[in-house]
């Protein structure tokens, strides 16, 4: 805990003293004071700072013991600090420092004790420090120095002091070395280390004394942009005979425009060197000269002739003759190569790169048929047109095949890869593929990476991918499929660790729900999944991320489901409440269609059988025998036996009667049939939409009981009803009102407003007349 506080406190001090400009970056503790306008190095840095970047600060000079308190420092960057003076022992105490960068400082003087104390220094960068000679650099006290970068100084000589002979990398790029004398590299000659990589690129080499490189052994020699003309190159390469070098790089950078006529003499010098890997690049060779002059470097294993504007007529006569041990050949970024029958002699090759060079005869002849050792083959951007099934026959060891930007005949696809049983990587991007036959990848059991991007695939069948048991990385971006089948998505989820599906015209309508759901799932899985999957259709979702659409789609379904549930609940509730009425309605509706039944009764009398006495004694005689005569429908008299009661009620009673007379009494309320009949009548009234219910309250009823019959209670409260009471006058009024009510809506009885039968005959005539009219 204490340590942490001290650390924080010291950090605060740093920020305070350095004007809060230095940024601490963890871990390891590294302090970046880039461009903080510091004139002295901050003194109070955390004790365990390992990396300190003071670049672009106007330090101007480094005093004695400048970094004494930063003993843990491993890397010190003093790039462009305008340092012109470094006092003796300036770096004293930096015993763990392994990298010191002094790029871009105009250091005037180096003294023998400038670097004293830097016991662990391995890498020293003194680029652009106006150094005039390697001997001026006091690096003899740096026992562990492995890499010295002296690029862009004013060196004129390549003289290597003895203490530099144990270096691994010496970068002398862009100095002014024009001449190399015989004894410049003497100190290397005497040691037998071959670890040194010497970079002499961009030095204006004009005169190398023959024998300078004799029995010198180097790991790597870079000579890019060193020779101003073909003649200079020729003579200097000859002068370098006797050199043992593992990797030699000669050539130019881009924009070197001078054409070189390639004669055998030009690179003759190479024959007297011992080279394993040769790179000649950036040369602008004149056309049609290459094939006449074979390169003869017998020990060469690796030949890189990329970016030379080469035009090779009969490939590769010149190589197959001169270089028998060649394993790796790179002819990429040249103009044109015509593969000729001698190409078959290169059967020992392990890697071959023709990318970005126009190729002839590939895909027309089984040109690789003898190359059973080839592991790497790059034919991308070669304008190849594969038209025979045996285009890749014989490549039994091939592990990497790149054929992007090529054209495949559709009919050969099914069997063109049948020999490539060892293939690990296949790049078929930008091949204009529309359809891939199911058998295409059947032999590629070991394939791990497949690139089918930038094609025009309209679908990606699972059956195409199914044979690829070892596949882990698949790129199908920028194709034309709107979605993936469930078989394909299953394959991807089960086998792959990385898949790129971006830039396809995805369909985000809800028919693609399983695919969209799958995409949504992938964002939560271990599979490395392409980020920008955007919808193409439907139009309103264009440009939306697939995973977001997924949610919206889900939401719609949930909303629909919710609404459905609510509606069902309401319907269910209503059904439960109005179950009875519903049945009645249904029942009535069933028979409602043929409603042209003649109404032969004037009224259907609904009464409890216990009140039958009153009906028989009072109602029937008074209405059926009076004038006008009313025909009543009475269940004990008019219902047809042998038919269900309900049918009788509806068909005989309700449907054939104009009105319904309801005799309400205590018995009525207690009777189930009565309440059923009442409900039916109410429903019927609703259907027919005419008022036809006359209620007669026969006796006072218990209101509490009445409340159970909801419909009746409501009806009584809202409508006028008749009451059977004692007394002569009251009875007279009762019968008059009843007759009037029964007559209402029936024209045939209109002519008999009177209570009693005074004009009965006239009325009968009128009735006859009415019937005739009908």
């Amino acid at each position: 805990m204490d340590h942490r506080w001290i650390f924080l406190l010291s950090l605060w001090c740093v920020f305070d003293s350095a004007g809060s400009c230095c940024v601490e970056e963890l871990p390891p503790v590294s302090i970046n004071c880039y461009k903080c306008n510091l004139s002295v190095a901050p003194m109070d840095l955390p004790k365990h700072t390992t990396r300190l970047d003071l670049s672009f600060n106007p330090l101007k000079s480094l005093s004695r013991n400048h970094f004494l308190q930063m003993s843990k420092l491993e890397l010190l960057d003093l790039t462009r600090c305008s340092i012109s003076l470094i006092e003796d022992h300036a770096f004293f105490g930096l015993e763990h420092l392994h990298t010191l960068i002094l790029t871009g400082n105009p250091i005037e003087r180096w003294s023998s004790s400038t670097f004293s104390g830097l016991e662990s220094l391995q890498r020293l960068v003194v680029v652009e420090t106006s150094l005039t000679s390697l001997s001026n650099l006091p690096v003899m006290q740096l026992p562990l120095l492995k890499e010295l970068n002296v690029a862009k100084n004013l060196l004129k000589s390549l003289f290597l002091p003895i203490y530099l002979s144990s270096l691994h990398i010496l970068d002398l790029r862009a100095n002014q070395i024009a001449n190399i004398k015989e004894d410049d590299l003497d100190n290397l000659r005497n040691t037998k280390l071959s670890n040194l990589s010497l970079i002499l690129s961009q030095n204006p080499l004009t005169n190398i004394v023959p024998g300078s490189f004799r029995s010198i052994s180097l790991h790597m020699l870079h000579l890019k942009g060193c020779f101003s003309s073909a003649n200079v190159m020729e003579s200097n390469l000859k002068a370098m005979s006797g050199l043992f070098v593992e990797k030699l790089v000669i050539g130019h950078y881009r924009n070197y425009l001078k054409t070189i006529d390639l004669k055998s003499e030009r690179v003759e010098g190479l024959c007297n060197m011992n080279i394993e890997e040769l790179t000649i690049t950036g040369m602008h060779f004149s056309q049609n000269t290459f094939h006449e002059y074979p390169i003869e470097v017998p020990n060469l294993e690796f030949l890189d002739l990329s970016r030379n504007v080469l035009n090779i007529d009969k490939c590769c006569l010149q190589i197959s003759d001169g270089i028998s041990n060649l394993l790796h050949l790179n002819l990429s970024y040249n103009r044109q190569v015509v593969l000729y029958s001698v190409f078959l002699n290169l059967s020992h090759l392990q890697s071959l790169d023709f990318s970005h060079t126009e190729l002839t005869n590939v895909g027309v002849y089984p040109i690789f048929v003898l190359m059973d050792k080839l592991i790497y083959l790059d034919l991308s951007n070669t304008k190849s047109h594969f038209s025979i099934q045996c285009s890749f026959c014989g490549l039994y060891s091939l592990q990497v095949l790149k054929v992007s930007h090529s054209v495949f005949e559709t009919n050969i696809l099914a069997s063109v890869f049948k020999d490539l049983k060892e293939l690990r990587l296949l790049d078929m991007s930008s091949c204009g593929l529309i359809y891939i036959p199911v058998e295409t990848f059947a032999s590629l059991k070991l394939l791990q990476k497949l690139d089918l991007s930038n094609n025009k695939l309209l679908e990606l069948q699972g059956s195409v991918l199914n044979p690829l048991n070892d596949l882990t990385i698949l790129n199908v971006s920028s194709n034309s499929f709107p979605s993936l089948s469930s078989e394909t998505t299953q394959f991807i989820s089960q086998n792959l660790s990385e898949v790129d599906l971006s830039n396809n015209p995805f369909d985000c309508s809800c028919n693609q729900m399983p695919f969209l759901l799958w995409v949504y799932e992938q964002s939560n899985r271990r599979l490395r999944f392409s980020n920008s999957l955007k919808c193409q259709t439907p139009e309103y979702l264009q440009g939306t991320q697939l995973s977001e659409v997924n949610l919206i789609c889900n939401l719609t379904i949930y909303v629909c489901f919710g609404v459905f549930v609510v509606i069902t609940a309401i319907a269910g509730g209503m059904f439960y409440c109005y179950k009875q009425k519903y049945f009645h309605l249904c029942y009535l509706l069933q028979t409602h269609n043929n409603h042209n039944v003649e109404k032969e009764y004037d009224a259907f009398v609904i009464h409890s059988s216990l009140d039958e006495e009153w009906v028989k004694e009072h109602l029937v005689p008074k209405l059926e025998d009076g004038a006008p005569r009313f025909q009543l429908c009475l269940h004990y008299r008019d219902f047809i036996p042998g038919i269900p009661i309900t049918t009788n009620i509806v068909n005989e009673g309700i449907r054939r009667s104009r009105k319904a007379l309801i005799i309400v009494s205590q018995n009525f309320i207690e009777s189930k049939w009565c309440s059923f009949e009442f409900e039916m009548v109410m429903s019927w009234q609703f259907l027919e939409s005419q008022c036809g219910i006359i209620v007669i309250l026969l006796e006072a009823v218990n209101m509490a009981h009445l409340k159970h019959m909801l419909g009746l209670n409501k009806y009584l409260r809202k409508n006028t009803y008749l009451k059977w009471v004692d007394g002569y006058v009251e009875r007279k009024v009762f019968w008059r009102r009843l007759r009037e009510a029964l007559q209402k809506g029936d024209e045939s009885k209109l002519c008999a407003p009177q209570l009693d039968n005074n004009n009965g005959d006239v009325c009968e005539e009128q009735n006859e007349h009415n019937r005739m009219k009908l």
Partner: protein
Amino acid sequence: MKNFVIFLIISQLLFPGEMKEWPTHTICKTEEVEAYYKSCDPMQDAGLSMDPCYRSLGKRLMAKIGVILRQDINLLYMNSRIGYNGVYLFHEEKTLCEKTAPKFSFCGKKKGEFVLYNHSVKIGGPSLPKGEYFINLELINENNYIIACVNFTVYSHPTV
């Protein structure tokens, strides 16, 4: 022109950029074409010259660019956005430096080094039609750090 570039380089070295806005420099000005540029890198101005001054893009011209590197350029990408008469035309991305194949001499240079690219350039294509051109050029390294950023304005007014 050479003196001008040297002046710029020296001014860069002496006053490592504190300025936010850099002055507009003239590349060339003839009857047919005028070209100006302005550094859009907040860290430093850029030195640039072009000779000779043609309206035709097909001809070769010597281009000089001088920049002090603020970071390594093992990988270098060039982004250019081109507009014509105030309308954005197109955008191009190009890889200038790859780790394995350093095409240009400045590829692989490290922080603090001064890059002076002095070579003939052939852009190719017909003469510039009349109008005002805007070109934004950005050089970006492997850490997405802007190595150099320059805005060009070119006015083409053919005399024919």
